[in-house]
């Protein structure tokens, strides 16, 4: 089972490190990562494996949102099915 984590906001130091260690602690394995920087606007998209997560997916999504608030970024974790449904036939 996979999910997509998106991190957006104003670029600052150590975002990738913070987010990936947070995810690792919760049993999430990062499979792919891409990032873009548009002027000061930072957007990172991670494809992650959530087969071994320790909580329910909706709870993990909430925790990600909270981490985002703490570090001043917007962090979303969503089941990959929503993107597959909307963008693949």
């Amino acid at each position: 089972m996979r999910a997509v984590v998106t991190v957006t906001g104003k670029d600052k130091k150590g975002i990738i490190a913070k987010v990936s260690s947070f995810l690792a602690e919760r049993g999430v394995n990062v499979e792919d990562i891409s990032q873009t920087l548009l002027q000061e606007y930072f957007a990172m998209i991670m494809l992650v494996d959530i087969s071994d997560i320790k909580t329910e997916l909706s709870v993990l999504a909430k925790e990600c949102e909270k981490l985002g608030e703490e570090i001043g970024m917007s962090i979303r974790l969503q089941h990959e099915a929503i993107f597959n449904a909307m963008h693949n036939i």
Binding site: V4, T6, T8, S34, T36, A43, I45, E56, L57, S58, V59, A61, K62, R76, L77, Q78, H79, E80, A81, I82, F83, N84, A85, M86, H87, N88
Partner: protein, 451 residues
């Protein structure tokens, strides 16, 4: 596999353009609840609804968390109550109140189905049932009522049309303290559909199975945003863009509907893709029409623009889901759409233009506040006109007007929340009573004879 652009597009749709799952509606058959007395039936109804829908709120909230898409409303629709209380129609209100208690207990937003299907004729027990609607709507908060008074196949039951004019008036009077709010929970249909997930017109048709999940998806803001990106496109290209956007939105709905049905132990019914506005900025159907090039909704060209929008939405939706149903198209509830409120306030959108618009979109005259002094027969005549449009054009039409007690043209009314606000709209003041009081049935049109 999706790419980075796709991911960010979905997130933009949700965060900035108000894409949401407007409702997960569980349809529940109440036919097994009928017992020897109204009291026992009411108890069965309460127990059945509480049991079948016990997890709907929890499951919806969890799905919203997992997929990162808001699910705004959780609702239940039931078998038309007029059938459930047929042996004891004078006690119909008991069953309506049991439904309201169940809705409160479950924490759902609305429960639809205090309804009757009288499109060909009104049985004695249905006459009594219809008369109970105003009292029920005035004494409950979450129960919605709908009545089907005509169809393309059977014509228009003008005796029921006459009665419904009186019932709308009476409902407004009994809820006068809240500016006639009861009428916002009452819809008069022609060609009502049995699987509509949207309120106030949802009910669970008798042709449906025991427990069904129907999902309504919305997203006027997403469509408007997509059109903003192609300001100089011709209308072929605009229609294509609407279709593609509708496709994506409906796919999200299909995913949630299937998953919700599985987790709630119900059948997947349909996805209804309806552009349903809310009174917040950026969630308006009127603004889509204006983006297409109209200075203001209500002006000449509005009907053509709406026809194109409604059709393109349907085409995108049909491709995206295995079962599209409900109303699927564009809604034009005046008080719930910031662009419509604005146009009505300036006098640029009137009831006659709205009536024309209902010939080409998926619903009818919806959430329109009219003067409280409007006679019941005039309301009946408004209903008859809408039903005629539906009957002849083989489409659903509906009337949800609010004759606001003590208010007149120039005043406005605030319903609050999703129901929004509306200026009182003038209606034609000539007398239609002799036509309405004739009663009887308008025969079905010639093109209904297809057998």
């Amino acid at each position: 596999m999706f790419n980075q652009f796709d991911v960010l597009e979905t997130i933009d749709m949700i965060e900035r353009e108000h894409l949401d799952i407007r409702t997960i509606t569980m349809g529940i058959s109440l036919l097994p609840c009928i017992a020897g007395s109204a009291e026992k039936t009411a108890k069965n109804v309460y127990d059945t609804v509480c049991k079948k829908a016990e997890n709907i709120v929890e499951v919806a909230d969890r799905l919203a968390g997992e997929y990162g898409i808001p699910i705004v409303n959780k609702r239940v629709s039931v078998t038309p109550v007029s059938l459930i209380c047929a042996p004891f129609p004078e006690k119909a209100v008991l069953i309506g109140r049991a439904l309201d208690r169940a809705a409160n207990e479950l924490g759902i937003d609305f429960l639809g189905g205090y309804s009757a299907l009288v499109h060909k004729g009104t049985a004695d027990y249905e006459k009594i049932f219809l008369d109970s609607i105003p009292e029920l709507l005035a004494s409950t908060t979450r129960v919605c009522s709908s009545v089907n008074i005509g169809s393309s196949k059977s014509g228009i039951n003008m005796d029921a049309v006459k009665q419904m004019g009186e019932i709308v008036k009476r409902t407004a009077e009994l809820t006068a303290a809240q500016d006639g709010l009861g009428c916002a929970k009452l819809v008069v249909f022609a060609n009502a559909v049995e699987d509509n997930p949207f309120m106030a017109g949802a009910f669970h048709g008798v042709g449906e199975s025991g427990t069904v999940i129907n999902v309504g998806v919305s997203g006027p803001g997403v469509v408007k945003h997509a059109l903003e990106n192609i300001p100089d496109a011709n209308l072929n290209e605009a229609a294509e863009m609407i279709k593609r956007t509708a496709f994506k939105i409906t796919r999200a709905g299909q995913l949630i509907a299937k998953e919700a049905a599985k987790r709630l132990n119900a059948e997947f019914g349909i996805v209804d893709l309806s552009l349903a506005p809310t009174p917040v900025m950026g969630d308006s159907v009127a603004h889509i029409l204006e983006e297409l090039g109209l200075e203001c909704v209500g002006g000449h060209g509005t009907t053509a623009a709406l026809a194109m929008l409604n059709d393109a939405v349907k085409k995108g939706g049909v491709m995206a889901s295995s079962h599209v149903g409900g109303l699927s198209g564009a809604f034009i509830p005046v008080s719930e759409d910031i662009g419509m409120i604005h146009a009505a306030g300036k006098g640029l959108l009137n009831i006659d233009k709205l009536e024309a618009m209902t010939a080409v979109c998926s619903v009818g005259l919806d959430m329109i506040a009219i003067p409280g002094k409007t006679p019941a027969t005039t309301i009946s005549a408004i209903i008859a006109d809408e039903a005629a449009i539906g009957m002849i054009n083989n489409k659903t039409t509906a009337v949800r007007v609010i004759p606001v007690p003590g208010k007149d043209v120039g005043d406005s009314v605030e319903f609050g929340g999703l129901l929004g606000r509306a200026p009182i709209m003038p209606v034609n003041t000539t007398d239609s009573s002799r036509f309405i009081l004739r009663g009887g049935r308008i025969p079905a049109p010639i093109h209904s004879n297809k057998n």
